[in-house]
């Protein structure tokens, strides 16, 4: 790239650059949209996870309640004679 030389075949280079612009527009368009797609997936995962977490939380409390109730029922059914009167 000598200073004095410049680009010898300016027209050809210009055409090539122009074609390059076009191609890259296409490529960047596609790549951007693919990235957006992935971003959506990531976000979807995030929301799903947080929803699952809240569901999990509710299930946890329910489970503990259920355990307690089971114990209560167990005490009651272990002494059936108390309920026969």
């Amino acid at each position: 790239m000598a200073r004095a030389g410049g680009i010898t075949n300016a027209v050809n280079v210009g055409i090539a650059v122009q074609a390059d612009w076009e191609n890259r527009e296409f490529i960047s368009h596609i790549s951007l949209n693919v990235r957006r797609l992935f971003e959506f997936l990531v976000q979807f995962e995030a929301t799903t996870k947080s929803k699952l977490a809240s569901l999990n939380e509710k299930l946890d409390t329910l489970e503990r309640r259920l355990e307690l109730l089971e114990v209560q029922v167990g005490t009651a059914s272990a002494n059936p004679h108390l309920f026969t009167t």
Partner: protein, 1140 residues
């Protein structure tokens, strides 16, 4: 190492090829930087020479068998010399450069470039800035190797400029845990390069480099930035108009650049502060732990742990959170802003290439062939002429039209960025245009006035030139952001690990953990939300360890530390949360009037903190793992609430019954805290936890931990050792040594947050509780009723009633023993013998001298029965009050109206009660509405209303506990009725009988009244008023009240004394007639008053007289007593003790 020096040799000639481009300059600078860093690392780390000498020794031993070892040994020697010489690479480089001539030019160019970039401070991200700062002193050293050279340098760059740069940044970070000081480099190397020693002396005085208080600086820019950024994002979403959206996109580009610059500035600050701290270890010992000598601290502790003040930690946390928040925000918008950025850059480039350059070509450069060719090259390389064609035809027309008469070409925006090659080419070409390839030009890059290019164009070129250098960063958006937000360097400390010869430092020394700890300790509501931010540092450093350094062991270390830290953090955090909610609840439950009257009431109020943001953290990303912080906290909260309940019960069990008020208060606080917390966090319901900890979940058990504790406490301590004071309605502990020594576990220790939160609140609540701690009265009974509830209370009552009947059974043989010791018949006391005579006569009759033990035993038994009965009386009062309140609340709903005579009337219309009606009508209205989603649930609700109505109505008229207890007692007494009240054979009152209970009791009574004369207030202290309650109740229930009132010894003595007093008063013979008896008489009067009180109470609560009256037959012969229908077995409805 050797390789590096070789590389340097190779790199020499290559530099002179083409005129250097900017990229070229940069790569040279970077190469130099790497060399400097390597050199520095070699200087600082002792391990490399150490390892090598070890290797060499081994090698010498091993190599004996080999041949041809001379060359190897030579090489090794070289290597050792190289390793042991400081700045060996630099010296080598210097020597090499002297061999090649003309390097000074390029070095000067490099210096100029570096200085200008530093001074402009535009388009420089912090890593580049640091590179320049590191390289600059070395360059200066290299250039000024001779007098002539240095002069020529100072001709181009004034020495003051250099010194200013060095002064403003006296310490530069080289590695995460290593720093570099330009002044030190210059000073050290000036031994080899004596020419600049004069200048370096100036530099050895480092400017006072204090870190500015950041808040004033950062807050506005941070907040402003976030607001504008969000605003822009909002705007851009609905941008339809092209012109307008172009403007918005331009703004967006500006915002992104600004964001980069902010991030870079902040991150550089942190780096620099870090380096500064490393270079200035804490000098003085920490005052708080002064007993430890400074020598015991490792270097790292001096440098990090004690080197950051609280304010500095706070600002560091804030800064880190700024960086992280903006960084994550920008990363999130990556794809969102990408096309806007591309479009803007495209537009900028095209605008420059197509318009500005075209203008320049037409005007300025028309005559200069060389320059204009460069310019047209630029156009060829990067212009996007055809972008216009992709538009609709009509628009194109108009655009072209306007473009012709407007300011040049209009081009259609195309969201495509120029390639890196294009950018580099443009940069190079502009540089060429401006400098004309002449390196020796004086002045700066764009500052040369000697060029033929007009100032105006120069300006345009210059601004575009710098813009270009930033385009690359912008195009590499996500990488730039993550570089700029990478704070992993805060963790690394290998250098200090090696120098202190330890495997790992304690966690308190770790900077991220220090920050977390500071946030937790500072109790600063604003800071608390960024408590998780320091953990991001671990993420960064783990990333760096794996991706950049590629060292598995570092990652393992980080992982271990993170595991440890996070556990610690969660437990500390939940502790803080619990304490906060506890003290909040405690301060809300303090009496407001008390607070109002207090001067320093503020210390009981709680600083509001917001944990809600932390409670929303369900996905904390940590080293690739996703952690649900919320569920972790909830889990711990569930646990800590249970532990606290356990502790409260333990504490109650180690105290006496009077502590029940305190227990209730503490439970209330806990419950309130639970209520407050469960607004933000889902935790188990309080009643569930309470039941669990009370061991009360069984459906068929009515006892609970608390109830059985109350009961055993009453049995072991309360009934034997407490005495009743009838006037104050209180039981107090007898001051005598307890007859039954009570063994109790010691009060368990707990942190203040298991009481009320903060120590201040603890003492406040403690002083309230202390008021109730030494007696048992109505408030305690209220607490018992509230704590036990309708579930366990009947169990307790049953236990107490059983206690009464047991006591009576045990008393029976003793009373029989006393009965046997009495004479067959006891007559009335003669009035003529006076008080003294009467007392003597009584003593003769009551010849129980040998049975004083038995006497005391019987008295105690009677006292316990009386205590239980009085306790029931208190319970009755409290239950009445509770029931009344309850009734007042439910009556309007149940449709109960007060009648004219005070009786309860039921609702007139005879239909359902208001609550049922209400729900019924509501249900029908809702169900009739077709839009109702679930009519069944409303039907259920109305059914439930009916059930509630029934339940509440059934509970309307509850009986009196006291009456029940009295009935029970009388039923229990029935067994002994024959023994204790012999029915008179004549059918009339038997005066002389000695077998009846009342005789025993009056004998006991006069006995202890007399004793109280001899040892004043002795018996009262032991027995209290409950003896009267117990005795009188038994007498009353046996139907012997009238007998007692007539034939009681003390009553008779009182009568005698009265008569005597009148007669003495009439005769005036002896004013001090019954000297010595006043005390006894006074005590007797008191006893009579008390007995009367008890009898009247009993008459009111358990009327017997009518039954007695009924019992007089028509023949006139009275039946002694009607037998009650009640037997003990009739009371089986109460739950029995011992049933599970």
């Amino acid at each position: 190492m050797q390789l590096a020096a070789d590389m340097q040799r190779f790199s020499r000639p290559e530099r002179r090829i083409n005129g250097p481009t900017t990229t070229h300059l940069w790569s040279m600078l970077k190469l130099l930087d790497v060399l400097v860093q390597l050199d520095h690392l070699k200087n600082a780390k002792a391990s490399i020479p150490n390892d090598f000498s070890w290797y060499k020794r081994t090698f010498t031993q091993v190599s004996i068998q080999w041949q041809d070892i001379d060359s190897m040994r030579e090489e090794l020697d070289d290597l050792q010399i190289f390793l042991s010489t400081r700045w060996a690479i630099l010296l080598n480089l210097h020597v090499e450069m002297f061999r090649v001539n003309n390097v000074e030019d390029i070095l000067q160019v490099l210096i100029v470039f570096a200085v200008e970039s530093l001074e402009l401070d535009f388009a420089l991200l912090y890593p580049e800035r640091h590179i320049l700062l590191r390289v600059l002193p070395v360059l200066v050293v290299l250039v000024t190797s001779s007098e002539k050279d240095s002069e020529s340098l100072y001709k181009r760059v004034k020495i003051n400029r250099l010194i200013n740069i060095f002064k403003s940044d006296p310490v530069i970070p080289a590695f995460p845990d290593l720093h570099l000081s330009p002044a030190a480099i210059l000073k050290e190397l000036s031994m080899y390069f004596p020419k600049i020693s004069a200048q370096t002396r100036l530099l050895t005085l480092p400017a006072p480099h204090e870190l500015p208080p950041r808040e004033a600086l950062e807050y506005p820019s941070h907040d402003l930035y976030i607001y504008t950024y969000l605003l822009l994002l909002l705007k851009s979403t609905d941008g339809a108009d092209i012109e307008w959206s172009k403007e918005v996109k331009g703004n967006m580009y500006d915002m992104v650049i600004e964001g980069f610059q902010l991030l870079s500035k902040w991150n550089a600050r942190i780096w620099e502060q870090c380096a500064w701290k490393f270079s200035r270890p804490c000098k003085d010992a920490v005052p708080s732990e002064s007993n430890e000598s400074l020598a015991s601290y490792s270097d790292y502790e001096k440098v990090v742990r004690y080197n950051y003040s609280a304010d500095e930690r706070k600002t560091l946390v804030e800064l880190v959170s700024y960086i992280k928040s903006i960084g994550s925000m920008m990363l999130r918008c990556d794809t969102f802003v990408a096309d806007a950025l591309w479009e803007t850059i495209h537009a900028e480039v095209q605008d420059f290439v197509q318009n500005t350059l075209a203008t320049m070509l037409r005007t300025t450069f028309r005559k200069k062939k060389d320059l204009s060719r460069i310019l047209s090259d630029m156009r060829t390389l990067s212009a996007d002429w055809m972008a216009n064609t992709s538009k609709p035809e009509a628009e194109l027309q108009s655009v072209q039209h306007s473009g012709e008469e407007g300011k040049g070409n209009f081009f259609y925006p195309r969201p495509v960025a120029p390639t890196a090659a294009q950018v580099h080419c443009l940069q190079f070409l502009i540089y060429e245009v401006v400098s004309g390839g002449n390196l020796r030009k004086p002045g700066g890059l764009f500052g040369n006035s000697g060029s033929e290019i007009p100032v105006n164009d120069l300006k345009q070129l210059e601004s575009f030139f710098y813009k270009l250098s930033f385009f690359l960063h912008v195009l590499d958006y996500s990488v730039t952001v993550s570089t700029l937000t990478d704070l992993g360097f805060l963790w690394f400390r290998e250098f200090y690990l090696e120098s202190s010869r330890v495997i790992q430092f304690p966690i308190e020394c770790s900077l991220p953990w220090m920050l977390v700890e500071h946030v937790l300790e500072s109790q600063n509501a604003g800071l608390l939300e960024s408590v998780l931010i320091p953990f991001d540092i671990y993420n960064d450093s783990a990333q760096q360890a794996l991706v950049v350094l590629k060292q598995r062991f570092l990652y393992d270390e980080i992982e271990a530390e993170v595991d440890h830290c996070f556990d610690l953090f969660v437990s500390r955090l939940s502790d803080t949360i619990f304490t906060y909610y506890k003290s909040w609840a405690a301060s809300e439950l303090l009496d407001p009037s008390f607070l109002f009257a207090l001067d320093d009431g503020e210390k009981y109020s709680v600083q509001p903190m917001r944990f809600s943001a932390l409670f929303k953290m369900t996905r904390v990303k940590l080293l690739g793992r996703t952690i649900d912080l919320r569920s972790l906290i909830a889990e711990r909260m569930n646990k800590v609430f249970r532990e606290n309940l356990e502790f409260l019960f333990d504490r109650f069990e180690s105290q006496d019954l009077c502590a029940i008020v305190e227990l209730e208060k503490l439970l209330d606080i806990l419950k309130h805290a639970h209520e407050l917390l469960s607004k933000d966090l889902t935790i188990d319901s309080f009643s569930l936890m309470l039941n669990e900890m009370q061991e009360n979940i069984s459906l068929v058990s009515f006892s609970s931990r608390l109830a059985s504790q109350i009961w055993s406490e009453m049995q072991r301590d309360f009934l034997p050792n407490f005495i009743l004071c009838n006037t104050t309605q209180r039981f107090i502990r007898s001051s005598k040594v307890p007859l039954v020594p009570v063994q109790k576990p010691s009060v368990p220790y707990a942190k203040p947050n298991f009481y009320c939160g903060t120590p201040d609140l603890n003492s406040a609540h403690q002083s309230f509780a202390r008021l109730y701690s030494s007696f048992f009265g109505i408030p305690h009974m209220f607490s018992i009723v509230r704590l036990l509830g309708s579930r366990s209370l009947p169990w307790l009552i049953r236990a107490l009633l059983d206690h009464i009947s047991n006591k009576i059974t045990t008393l029976e043989p003793m009373i029989t023993g006393l009965q046997e010791a009495l004479p067959k018949s006891i007559g009335l006391l003669p009035f003529d013998s006076g008080v003294t005579g009467c007392m003597r006569l009584v003593k003769e009759n009551l010849n129980w001298g040998s049975k004083s033990e038995l006497k005391a035993e019987v008295l105690r038994g009677i006292k316990e029965i009386g205590s239980v009965l009085y306790w029931m009386g208190l319970l009755d009062i409290v239950l009445r009050e509770v029931d009344t309140t309850h009734f007042m609340q439910t009556a309007p709903w149940l449709g109960l109206l007060p009648g004219a005579d005070g009786q309860i009337l039921h609702h007139q219309d005879g239909g359902d009660s208001p609550v049922v009606n209400l729900f019924k009508s509501a249900t029908s209205a809702i169900v009739s509405n077709p839009g109702c989603p679930s009519p069944t649930s409303f039907c259920t609700m109305s059914k439930q209303a009916e059930a509630a109505d029934l339940l509440y109505k059934a509970n309307m008229n509850t009986g009196s506990v006291l009456e029940y207890a009295l009935a029970f007692t009388s039923a229990a007494l029935d067994k002994y009725c024959s023994k204790w009240s012999a029915a008179p054979k004549t059918g009339f009152v038997d005066i002389t009988t000695s077998k009846d209970f009342y005789r025993i009791y009056s004998g006991l009574q006069i006995g202890y009244l007399e004793e109280s004369d001899q040892a004043p207030s002795n018996n009262r202290e032991v027995l209290g008023d409950s003896v009267a309650w117990g005795g009188c109740t038994i007498i009353y229930l046996l139907g012997q009240q009238l007998h007692f009132e007539l034939f009681d010894f003390s009553y008779q003595v009182l009568n005698v004394a009265e008569v005597e007093a009148i007669s003495v008063a009439q005769t005036h013979k002896n004013p001090h007639f019954n000297q010595g008896w006043e005390v006894v008489l006074e005590a007797m009067k008191k006893a009579r008053r008390l007995n009367n009180h008890v009898f009247s109470m009993l008459k009111a609560r358990c009327p017997l007289e009518d039954k007695v009256a009924c019992a007089i037959k028509q023949s006139g012969a009275p039946l002694h007593r009607i037998k009650f229908e009640n037997t003990v077995s009739a009371f089986e409805t109460l739950p029995q003790k011992g049933v599970l």
